[in-house]
Amino acid sequence: MSPLEENRSEPGVATRGPLGGAPTSATPPMQRDVARTIFQKGAPGRRAFVCPELDVPAVDVGELLPERFRRAQPPRLPEVSEPEIVRHYVGISKRNFDLDSGFYPLGSCTMKHNPRLHERVAALPGHARLHPLQDPEHAQGALELMWNLQRALSEISGLPHVSLQPSAGSHGELAGVLLTRAFHEDRGETRHKVLTPDTAHGTNPATVTMAGFEVVKLATNADGGIDIEDLRAKADTDVACLMLTNPNTLGLFDPNITEIAEIVHGVGATLYYDGANLNAVMGLSRPGDMGFDIVHFNLHKSFTQPHGGGGPGAGPIAVSDRIAPFLPVPVVVRRESEADGVQTEGARAGAEQAPEFDLDYERPKSIGRLRGFQGNYGCFVRAYAYICSLGGDGLRDASETAVLNANYLLARLKQRGVAELLPLAYGELCMHEFVLSGGPMKRALEIKTLDLAKRLLDFGFHPPTVYFPLLVDEALMVEPTETETKETLDAFADAIAAILEEAAADPEIARSAPYSTPVRRLDEVAAAKRPVIREVMA
């Protein structure tokens, strides 16, 4: 029996006092409270909102809105006071792990530090309370910001045209595949297939389907790159596009990228760059120079938008000249004539004068709109602030340090006792992240990657991405980012080593982990079988 058996068997009880009232062990009471939703709190009649005064003549509601259009019963929203709301949400926030509290090496997600300056500037009323339909002449600051951001993204990607509109990476992918469709259609072609490597992120194939194409999978070669033979075999004139991540999700830069581009372009297809891993190459290598036609950026990754528990983000795209005519509307443009001349105060105030920065809707070949208004402007503000803070050299430094950190952590994990159990899946060095295989560990110690991940929680770390990419057995995908210190990387490597050592002695410890979290392992199967996805109300 594991030494922890007793602990595991009834921790909820074992840590409570004889009266069941409060813990007599180290459990902070609030963290282990039974979860109660806001709907289970409050009392009839309680409220936070005070309605502004009815300052217009009172008219019977029935007169303004016939009964058949009216709601019969008020929605059963919570009835809670402001202090209750604050306590409730502050309380449950403490049941989260977050980047400001610890290391978050979630591969592919680029969990880099989020400078607070960005929140400050995004909250300035001139940005935050700007209505999306404000006339361009009265939104020159916003449009200039978008224009500057477009220029910067263009320079970083090496592609001349940018649309900021997509709401996230996968939305950028959709835009990109629809652009590809429009591009082919414009040439009078109908193509049906899109190639994606088997290492691709799930959004790639999902996008392809949504855009009405068929997914064709490409194999990965022994070095972790695209299997060129497979590519040659599948690249025919029914292929509309190849979607690629480079460095790919194994953290490896494809050494054959130029050849790949030639093959793809050779059959008249477009080459799409999934920019999720751009953090590896900013200022060092550019998708446009590699031959990509379309790139999406994940502003929430490389450009440090806080992740918000799953968003918001933004997924701008950059494209080559041949794709540009199809970009979604509206497009932010700058009027050259004005940009050249010096604009006087009087000229700016003049209503008839077209503004320097404007929104262009007159794009006859455009694929149209992907969403309302101009995109996630709040995210643009943050990304732009980040680029201003770092500058060109700073961005390159960021990528260099991200790659240095990843390689250092990888080197640490090549230590004896770890490397045998968690070998690097492909390659030798890596770019900004690397993928280990937990297969040997599973066979030798009888703990799975999932167990290792859960045990890491007890050490105060967010686990790496697990079980992705799919082609690696028991994958563990580690992305430290450039904003972590060597001390943190060392502590993480030590924790991995300690867990493996611990598991060698008693695998049950990891298998039953975590122990120290607000809840322990949850029954996901039951959740999916009989879904309870809302609070049941009286």
Partner: protein, 447 residues
């Protein structure tokens, strides 16, 4: 660190991996980095070149609205614990985010009168497109019938998406400001995957949602989709009670900033039968190994990271933090507040419409009930009238033609009212808009 890696320099790490031809051999041509204070000043200078809803008396709406966002929302969304984690892949350390999602789903289901809600999608118009995609997955049909009262951005976004999977979008015109019921019934055929309308519609009018749903069902049983404005649902009948299958909408009015158009969130709720085809994340309740209540991401087999090309949507990073603001806002309003607020909007909107409609050269576009926005037809050039008003510090609303590009929208002004616009503000609008219209008419006559 280099020694541990076994390289002589950082450069070497790159040189060994990136082929020389695709290395960027020069610095990025971007300005130098700046100290924090300089970035702040630069961004402040840009902000000051925008005229925000703080700088003028604004009646802009048409999809996003200048509601008051209570201070506690900022405080909660700025907490590191909510702001900086990612999607709750590790539920044991993500109960905060997961519970928020669960509460959000509860609130949206309650508000819409529908059984299930996801944890939100990107925003309004793309939510309409997502509903269309759901419908095609559901019934395999490839045609969308949409009311011309749907927001132009929604129609355009649906078209962009539908073009990808080769579906057709057919518009049904309005009559007296609302969807023409006969044309609607007629347009819906056996190929019609979804029938989509907005409540209230783009011109502010309250649609007869129950009649539209019933007519659609009767015609060919498509998926009936309503784009709703959640802040009106304290007074308007919930879509679920009107026979609607899927309700989507722009969540911005619920505690989210204007932000020049985003980020906000899209709400997405449906009848139970659509659950396993919903896009986006869904949190579900369960228990841990000790029997303690907890929440997890559930029904993930719909999602791209599990189902890949067979996923019901490609959505990944979305709008968790904005949805948090939404549910906190709804808790702040509360059961009674959402009704009171709705009634206040009704009363002020009515007042504004009556006052403005009485002006020479200004008439109501329609006589339908309105909740928080209404359309006027001006007997003058809207752009010129707006310019006059803006010069006097009042932004009278949205030029419908400029937004929709529809010929019939020429002369139409959309005026939005929120609880921030007092009677005094409305009276000022009346005065200034009235004067502007009068001047423009005179000028037109003179010419």
């Amino acid at each position: 660190m280099l020694a541990a890696i076994g390289v002589g320099s950082v450069q070497e790490i790159f040189d060994r991996q990136i082929p020389a031809p695709v290395r960027l051999g020069r610095p990025l041509q971007l300005p130098d980095g700046l100290p924090e204070q300089d970035v702040f000043e630069h961004l402040r200078a840009l902000a000051s070149r925008n005229t925000s809803a703080e700088d003028e008396l604004s009646f802009l709406g048409a999809g996003m609205y200048d509601h008051y966002v209570p201070a506690l929302i900022d405080m909660l969304t700025e907490r590191s614990e909510f702001l900086t984690p990612y999607t709750p892949y590790q539920p044991e350390i993500s109960q905060g985010t997961l519970q928020v999602m669960f509460e959000y789903q509860t609130a949206i289901a309650e508000l819409t009168g529908l059984a299930v809600s996801n944890a939100s999608v990107y925003e309004g118009p793309s939510a309409v497109a997502a509903a269309g995609y759901l419908a095609t997955l559901h019934n395999g049909r490839r045609r969308f019938v949409v009311s011309a009262g749907l927001h132009p951005h929604s129609i355009q976004t649906l078209r962009t998406n539908a073009h990808g999977y080769d579906a057709e979008v057919v518009e049904v015109p309005l009559r007296d400001g609302v969807t023409d019921l006969d044309a609607w019934s007629e347009a819906i055929d056996g190929d019609t995957s979804a029938a989509i309308f907005a409540q209230p519609n783009f011109y502010g009018a309250v649609e007869d949602a129950a009649a539209l749903s019933a007519a659609a069902k009767a015609a060919a049983d498509p998926v009936v989709v309503a784009q709703v404005d959640p802040i009106t649902l304290g007074v308007l009948a919930p879509p679920g009670d009107c026979g609607v299958d899927v309700a989507v909408g722009e969540g911005q009015p619920l505690g989210n900033r204007l932000d020049f158009g985003g980020p906000s969130f899209g709400l997405f709720a449906a009848r139970e039968e659509y659950l396993r085809r919903m896009p986006g994340r869904i949190a579900g309740e369960t228990v841990d190994v000790d029997g303690r209540r907890g929440f997890v991401l559930t029904l993930q087999t719909r999602e791209q990271h599990i189902r890949r090309e067979k996923a019901t949507s490609n959505i990944c990073t979305a709008q968790a933090l904005n949805a948090l603001a939404g549910v906190v806002y709804l808790a702040w309003l509360g059961r009674r507040g959402i009704v009171e607020l709705g009634e206040l909007l009704l009363a002020r909107t009515h007042y504004a419409r009556e006052q403005l409609g009485a002006f020479p050269g200004v008439e109501k576009l329609h006589e339908q009930p309105v909740v928080r926005e209404f359309a006027l037809r001006l007997d003058a050039d809207v752009a010129a009238v707006r310019r006059r008003c803006v010069e006097r510090g009042v932004n009278p609303g949205v030029d419908a033609h400029a937004l929709s590009g529809r010929e019939e929208d020429r002369g139409v002004l959309l005026v939005a009212i929120t609880e921030r616009r007092t009677r005094a503000d409305i009276d000022r609008l009346v005065e200034i808009l009235g004067a502007a219209v009068a001047s423009e008419r005179r000028e037109t006559v003179a010419v």
